[in-house]
Symmetry: C2
Subunit: 107 residues, 2 copies
Amino acid sequence: MNTNPVRFAKALADETRQEIMAHLCCVWLSVNDLVDKMEGKVNQPTVSHHLKKLEEVGLVNVREEGRFRYYTLNQEQLTACCGVLVRSFAPDYAAQIILPDTIPTEK
Amino acid sequence: MNTNPVRFAKALADETRQEIMAHLCCVWLSVNDLVDKMEGKVNQPTVSHHLKKLEEVGLVNVREEGRFRYYTLNQEQLTACCGVLVRSFAPDYAAQIILPDTIPTEK
DNA sequence: TAATCCTATTGATAATCGTCAATATGTCAA
DNA sequence: TTGACATATTGACGATTATCAATAGGATTA
């Protein structure tokens, strides 16, 4: 199923999730690492919950290692979704930008 | 005040609002015109409510004419917000794209 | 095997949000 | 000025969602 712009926007439409995304940019972190980075703002189940939502729209990649699960931001997916937005809602600008042609997928 | 990515995403995070945005792409429509385009899915106060949210983050422009208010999609704002997203969350791709340098504003 | 650790799930609660009916505000026309 | 029209606002209601406490599910370690 394709990630449509509404699901993409809903995944981004939360302060906590965007903070999590910032922490996952260019780095792999375990859930507990992330909880630490959040500095007490949210607890472990909440972080898990947000990671699941991000994973559902392909905005994070996961790597399992024993009892750990390492997450990282999927930059290509984010860029592709932004590309869909611009092509849908800013046709006058779409021609000027270069974005991945990847067809985003989700669960 | 700057339009931050969370507010931008929240404005996009609704099916009805994205449908309204699609109708306002490259064209000026009055509120009632929009209500007609929505084909009974939502009523006039609801359309007004959504237009207000889009206006608050600068995603639509408004032109007043007598008792009419004409709305249109602000493509540049949308593109700029996507640019902020890509630069924030996809640095590996940001260099490849060209997006307006406009600093988005909101109410 | 038992204990410990990491993460996910469940259930509950509060807050946010989309929608509508009713009404208010403001503008044009008769 | 009065009535009709276009849009915005208010208040209420239901649905969704973010959060936490408690607990379950696996995997490692002692």
